[in-house]
């Protein structure tokens, strides 16, 4: 075509692109370090499943059509990437394709590839038209109509249309006007035209156009294609479509630990860190580079938006905007960061960029992370920002102060006398562990503050104890030596208090040489199992539904389906999404119920939080409607008369919802253990 022109265009475009990308890379290098280069094979697994397989896009039933659309556009991009090498090469050298391995006229692969890219050009074209139709006609709530998104869609249209027109004009110039232009030919395989049905069809449509017009079209389509590609490339880095570049790396460097990287164990004794204001995330550069990459990668698809319990109930936290606000702030600070290594400090991260109401609305339920197609980790950065608010600025919601005081003094959120912790077990013949068990204890029951002090939750503890007794399990409790695991302190950013509680518990557990624990509280489960290892507490921890299911499996408990009426199971976030247990409670419920339990619309990994997580249980809920009442509505929507759950907090929230709705006669909330106990074979 024109080597000089194509060189100039490439040079200008690539130089700008490199500048933009290097600016971003330098920004990421200024952010907090984090090792995301471990376990390369598992990382490749993520890349293949979530990236190339687009599992989060096509894997969700509710979003299947949009997911499929994206799947085809994504693969279209991958396939057409190679096509661009051919197109740009042609700019330098007539018949450039012939020098590429496997893509010359004598290779069948070249013909197959021609067919595939031609097919995908049309597929992408249709998918983009579908995307535009969705945006303009269907208008799903999670999408925001904006110029940026539309510009990009039209550019993609431009890319495929110009290439189709280019091929069509080329075919006509060769076939009708005898031009000597390069195209694939082979005595057996046939010609390029035979393998490109759509471009050939378009050629047929414009076959009546004269030679001059066709030649002009050929030139125009070529240069328009080059222009669109090069402009498109430079629009990416500063738009939400940066994900075209960053999504695959973001998935590759995603969290391997389940469910996400644990909260950082801060060194709260470190005075230097404190003086420099480096506890938690107080400025944008305190985010890790991966969290920075998360910001650039968000495509504002809004899947996190309509899954979020706070959005559904009208609170100011919408994760899409949370991410966008942080990303815009990061962009504003890019120059300052790269010049000085720090942000300018003109805006307070919480206050100016993110409102406190937004930050504290999160229940840490992780639904957003389950549905994010590009592995953005929302919750860890929210907790880290809360850490700075609580530890550096003492700006936690006031209601938490009394709760903290109670935890400090008596190891439970109400501040009730620690000496009354084992009162619930009086007369139940449960031994209290005071010395390392001499082989006569199978498992230690971790009761948790709710099971120990809350009237309703004590019944769950008692039911679990009764079941273990029935099955002949030898178990003990730790009596008054047990303290709150610190979950609520940690989720609300009070790492100091969390560590105090957690260290004392680890010391007690290790001192008693406890190896195996069973707990009725998913929050305790999560701390003991996933967080205490940071403090050298390594235990085998079971949720009571897991443990009971095991007893049933071993034949030590027999259940008959005695429960009548429609029953549904509410997944606690910290059992399901945090600890990947969806089946044990369902299995027990199915065995205990006469009829098959029904599922709510939001179930399993897309379950709807009860509203208590993330220390929200201990804060006022003044904005919007109440999360627990919304969940109750969802349960009643499927006709549930019994809501079964496996968490004392979910129990409290849902029962409160029932009371608020005055529906005590119609709906009851029971723990799986209580249901199993009532369904035991007698």
């Amino acid at each position: 075509m024109n080597p000089t022109l194509i060189s100039l265009a490439l040079l200008a475009s690539l130089a700008t692109f490199a500048y933009l990308v290097i600016t971003k890379l330098r920004v990421l290098l200024r952010m907090a370090p984090e090792n995301r280069f471990d376990q390369p094979l598992r990382r490749l697994g993520l890349l293949f499943r979530i990236g190339l397989g687009q599992s989060k896009l096509v894997g969700r039933k509710r979003e299947r059509s949009a997911g499929a659309m994206h799947f085809f556009i994504f693969w279209g991009f991958v396939i057409l990437g190679l096509r661009e090498i051919i197109v740009f090469g042609e700019g330098y050298m007539h018949g450039f394709q012939e020098v590429l391995p496997l893509l010359g006229s004598d290779s069948i692969a070249a013909y197959v590839y021609t067919f595939v890219y031609n097919l995908f050009e049309v597929t992408v074209l249709c998918m983009v038209l579908f995307a535009l139709y969705r945006r303009f006609a269907i208008r799903p709530a999670r999408l925001t109509l904006n110029r940026e998104a539309n510009t990009i869609l039209f550019m993609i249209l431009g890319v495929v249309i110009t290439d189709l027109v280019f091929d069509a004009a080329k075919f006509n110039l060769i076939g009708l006007h005898g031009h000597e232009l390069h195209h694939l030919r082979h005595p057996v395989f046939g010609t390029e035209m035979d393998w490109a049905p759509f471009a050939s069809g378009l050629a047929w449509l414009i076959s009546s156009w004269g030679e001059g017009v066709t030649a002009g079209l050929y030139q125009m389509a070529y240069w328009a294609h080059v222009a669109v590609i090069l402009v498109f490339l430079n629009l990416l880095p500063d738009s939400k479509h940066a994900h075209v570049i960053t999504a695959l790396p973001n998935v590759l460097f995603g969290s391997l630990g389940y469910p996400h990287t644990p909260v950082a164990l801060l060194d709260v004794e470190n005075e230097a860190a404190w003086e420099q204001g480096k506890l938690g995330v107080d400025r944008i550069e305190h985010l890790t580079w991966k969290q920075g990459l998360d910001l650039y990668t968000c495509t504002e698809c809004g899947r996190c938006y309509d899954i979020c319990p706070t959005y559904v109930t009208g609170k100011p936290l919408t994760l899409k905007w949370f991410n966008e606000s942080l990303r815009d702030h990061l962009r504003e600070e890019e120059a300052h960061l790269n010049r000085t290594g720090a942000s300018s400090g003109e805006k307070e991260l919480v206050g100016d960029v993110i409102s406190p109401d937004t930050l504290w609305a999160c229940t840490t339920c992780r639904a957003c992370e389950e549905v994010c197609p590009v592995s953005i980790e929302h919750v860890p950065r929210i907790v880290a920002m809360r850490q700075a608010q609580t530890l550096l600025h003492e700006a936690q919601p006031e209601e938490l102060n009394n709760t903290y005081r109670g935890l400090e003094r008596n190891g439970n959120p109400w501040g009730l006398g620690y000496d009354q912790r084992a009162n619930w077990a009086e007369g139940l013949d449960i031994p209290i562990l005071t010395a390392p068990p001499a082989g006569d204890v199978d498992v230690v029951m971790w009761v948790g503050c709710m099971g120990a002090f809350d009237n309703r939750s004590q019944k769950i503890a008692k039911a679990t104890a009764a079941l273990m007794h029935k099955a002949g399990v030898r178990f003990a409790i730790m009596g008054t030596a047990e303290k709150c695991t610190g979950d609520l302190a940690r989720r609300s950013g009070n790492e100091m208090l969390y560590q105090t509680l957690a260290r004392e518990n680890v010391e007690t557990l290790n001192g008693l040489q406890v190896k195996k624990l069973v707990t009725i509280c998913p929050h305790c489960l999560n701390s003991l199992k996933n967080e205490y290892p940071q403090l050298d507490g390594h235990y085998e921890v079971y949720h009571h539904t897991q443990y009971i299911a095991q007893l049933v499996q071993e034949g030590r408990l027999q259940i008959d389906g005695k429960l009548t009426g429609t029953v549904t199971y509410h997944d606690p976030c910290y059992l399901g999404r945090y600890n990947n247990e969806y089946d044990a409670p369902r299995d027990l419920l199915a065995r205990s119920s006469q009829d098959a339990p029904v599922e709510m619309r939001r179930a399993r990994n897309e379950s709807f939080c009860c509203g208590a997580g993330g220390a929200r249980m201990w804060m006022e809920e003044n904005i919007g409607t109440r999360v627990n009442e919304e969940r109750l509505r969802q349960a009643r929507e499927v006709g549930a008369r019994t809501i079964a759950t496996g968490c004392p907090f979910c129990m409290t929230m849902l029962a409160d919802g029932v009371a608020a709705a005055g529906a005590e006669e119609e709906v009851r909330v029971l723990d799986i253990a209580e249901i199993v106990l009532q369904s035991l074979r007698t």
Binding site: W274, E394, N401, R409, N410, Y418
Partner: protein, 261 residues
């Protein structure tokens, strides 16, 4: 404005108090800062923040009382005095006031704030006795404090006929009610800084007192014995329809509890 805040470390009243052989069992007990003293510290800190000056906290008690002092330093008090002397054991309110008066005399304080009573003894005597010994005006059970220029404070307290509005000339002594404020938590910042703050440990001799002046030796009243708190009797359950249960409740209230007599 320099403020002295006498505080006390008391048994956490959330715990079951057990009595054996006429003595309170200390084993397994936790000790915390008396809640009204927490209000006093908070009030002092608020005044310091608007008026400047220094907040000094003082306590009388064994080693464990030092923790209560650390907490007040972490809340934001500037320095602490710990009178830690076995001789003080068994002091009555009079004895505590005597010691505190000596501590107060060592500095120039514009204001002394203390809790209106201690959660353990519920005596409420130390503050007033201290005011008497120092010959200071006293307002007890304060619910609001308003700085009013040099040497004066606007004070509110709940009196018999409603809220009393008082103009108090300094120096003076006030005791804090729990509706005075919402005490702050000891923050991480506070805990960090508290480590570097001065805590003076004194014996009674350092205050010019002899062992016979204080403790059980100097006490004017003696607690002969502690009796365990009465066990809570079981509640009564009323059954029947609304009219019946209402009648039963009214009957008991009138004839047994005699509340309408």
């Amino acid at each position: 404005m320099n403020i002295l805040v006498p505080v006390k470390s008391v048994i956490d009243v959330e715990l079951n108090i057990r009595v054996r052989d006429g003595r309170v069992v200390e084993d397994g007990m936790n000790y915390v800062l008396n809640k009204w003293d927490e209000n006093a510290v908070e009030a002092a800190l608020v005044l310091k923040e608007s008026q400047g000056g220094e907040v000094t906290v003082v306590t009388v008690g064994p080693d464990r009382s030092g923790e209560a002092l650390r907490k007040t330093l972490a809340m934001g008090a500037d320095k602490a005095v710990h009178v830690n002397d076995p001789a003080t054991e068994g002091s009555d309110a009079h004895g505590f006031a005597k010691i505190l008066a000596k501590v107060a005399a060592r500095g120039a304080y514009d204001l002394i704030i203390t809790g209106k009573q201690a959660q353990d003894t519920d005596m409420g005597g130390t503050g007033p006795l201290l005011a008497a010994m120092l010959d200071l005006p006293l307002v007890a059970g304060v619910i609001a404090i308003e700085p009013q220029g040099a040497g004066k404070l606007g004070i509110r307290r709940l009196g018999q006929f409603g809220t009393e509005v008082i103009e108090l000339a300094l120096p003076a002594l006030i005791t804090a009610s729990d509706s005075l404020n919402e005490p702050r938590l000891a923050s991480l910042r506070g805990i960090m800084q508290a480590k570097k703050k001065p805590m003076e440990v004194l014996k009674v001799a350092d205050l010019g007192l002899s062992a016979g002046d204080v403790g059980s030796a100097g006490a004017r009243i003696q607690v002969v014995e502690y009796l365990p708190p009465p066990a809570r009797s079981a509640g009564k359950k009323f059954e029947g329809d609304e009219a019946e249960t209402t009648a039963q409740v009214m009957n008991l209230l009138t004839n047994e509890a005699k509340i309408f007599a």
